[in-house]
């Protein structure tokens, strides 16, 4: 499986993501600079975490208008799988590839800890290696992860099974509406999530719970 990681000025979780993709897929991903107007043909494009453009204006707002993101939008429309983690999720909402917005955490504090995630939908290209309702461990580290969508959008997300991950009961770290931790686009090929699955990949991390997400994509590509 071929993958690419888009690097923005201020990305800082790109190394972890590259290592995770290399470890699970066996192939080192291509790192693409945000000014590159054309991405290589890959099976998965990843927007990593960090603080692109110092979170100026709004988190992800300026990165979402970069030349590379125009090509990400084109490729997403053509069916290429796109994963955005943390700042990557913020960039995807700002680019209009996912609905809603990520607001300042309700308690106003930066949160850096491990949470429990419920796999709400395990029939997606990103979650098929997990069991439905399975609860996995996953770290979060963000200041703006409070997912918001208007009632109509929220109803569609819930009704169409587009909530991939939810913070398990009592672990919502940011005030996210309906405990939403990760959502899919309508076609199911774009996933955005605040938690960092790339940080539970090796036994040394203290767990392998994040591997399932990347293994799911490998399975989906092979299917």
């Amino acid at each position: 499986m071929r993958s690419a990681v888009v690097l923005f000025p201020g990305s800082n979780r790109d190394h972890d993501m590259v290592k995770a993709l290399h470890s699970v897929t066996g192939v080192k991903p291509t790192v693409v600079w945000h000014q590159d107007a054309s991405l290589p043909d890959v099976d998965l494009i990843v927007l990593p975490g960090g603080f692109s453009y110092g979170d100026y204006l709004r988190c992800g707002a300026i990165a979402a208008r970069s030349p590379a993101m125009l090509d990400v939008a084109r490729k997403a429309k053509a069916g290429v799988r796109v994963l955005g983690v943390c700042n990557g999720f913020q960039i995807l909402t700002e680019a209009g590839l996912l609905p809603g917005a990520l607001m300042r955490n309700a308690h106003l504090r930066f949160v850096c800890k491990e949470v429990k995630l419920e796999v709400t939908n395990n029939t997606t290209d990103f979650t098929r290696a997990y069991a439905r309702g399975e609860v996995i461990r996953c770290p979060v580290a963000h200041h703006d992860g409070n997912y918001f969508a208007d009632p109509e959008t929220l109803g569609r997300l819930e009704g169409e099974g587009r909530v991939a991950f939810r913070y398990a009961e009592g672990t919502n770290p940011n005030g996210s509406i309906n405990d939403i931790a990760g959502i899919l686009n309508e076609a199911g090929n774009v996933l955005g999530m605040m938690p960092h699955p790339e940080n539970l990949i090796e036994a040394l991390h203290g767990g392998l719970d994040g591997r399932g997400l990347f293994e799911s994509v490998v399975q989906a590509v092979a299917a």
Partner: protein, 80 residues
């Protein structure tokens, strides 16, 4: 031409920063505060001299970048 864009959160969107400001003002002893909402102001200097054209151009800037219309409203004022 100077144009001022004022960006505010839509009604109904939780504003935790506004809440914190409200709490801090109460803590300082200011009475009678029914609410505080935080927004931002962006001042633009444009080569355009026609106010209508400037307004149209800035609205486009707001829709494409300056505001996130999922959660924010914007107001455009021509300062002259």
């Amino acid at each position: 031409m100077k144009v001022r864009v004022t960006i505010t959160l839509k009604a109904g969107v939780l504003d935790p920063q506004g809440k914190a400001i409200e709490g801090a003002l109460r803590g300082l002893g200011f009475a009678g505060i029914d609410g505080a909402r935080q927004g931002k102001i962006i001042d633009l200097s444009l080569a355009e001299t026609n106010p209508d054209k400037a307004r149209t151009a800035v609205a486009d800037m707001c829709d494409k970048l300056l505001a996130n219309t999922v959660i924010e409203n914007y107001d455009i004022a021509i300062l002259g």
